[in-house]
Amino acid sequence: MTPEQLDERTRHLSEKARGIAQRESVRWAGIAVYGLVTVGLAWGGILLILHLLQQPRNKCPDTSNLLPDPAMILVGLGAILLGRFLGHLRYRDSWEKTDVGARRASSSLGRVAFLLFLGLCTFALIYEALGEQQITVSPTPSFPGLAPITEYSRCAVYYDKLGGGPGWTVYAVVIALCTLVGHWLWSYHPPRDFGDQDGGSTPTGQGRGVDAATAEPVVQPQGGHA
């Protein structure tokens, strides 16, 4: 190899290393933001719970026509459609690792998430059953008994609209939940098939951005079409 060829190869390798380092730094910056959002979500939830527990135990009278609100239902339907087509703005189907071990681990995490979700649903349904029966250990004027979850949810809508507004917080919650549902359950973009989730077969390498020979995915930036 001539010195010129050696220089060219060195330059090429250092450029490649710089590119990898740049991609890694962008990835870790994204992870840091994601972590902050997760911590913020937990922190916000704790603050909201503490705030609610400090509130006086007022009743929630139905003296107005604040509910039903058909507009919220229409907005929810629209948000599901928005979630379906959200992939046009943000979609990602390439990952740093898609080997058998990574797929198996990711699949296990998905199962854990599903298990926890079902556990929470069961917990909520048990509470709903207790609420329907107005269960209380020792009824007092300050804590007479439980009520169904739907009654509390409607009461939250009532308090949100009490100031005369349309209920911005409720709209935000409806939009966020329905968008997520539409994006996850009714996504416009088909997810790429990396092969069997449990690692029973090798990756096909037929998806965009995957080197078919090595089955090594090419990391694509977020924010564009996959």
Partner: protein, 86 residues
Amino acid sequence: VIDQTNFQHGTYADGMAFVVAVVVAAFVTISLLDLVCAIKGWPSVGYRVRRWSRKNPFYVVGLLLVLMMLLVHIVGNHIMYSETHN
């Protein structure tokens, strides 16, 4: 028929705190699992759900119907449904 007396005497703060705790716990858990996937470079939880939904369209239709019914049930009724309609 639900006896609204209990509710009117006020367990809203406690009950709503419970609802918020369940919802936030679900989302924080999903976020944490997704964060693990992001750190490890594994396909995300959302990818898993989307992949499942593509393979099980009938279940997805059922789930969407249930979720929409829940939304309509909550915001499509009067606040004190039983008191208003009984």
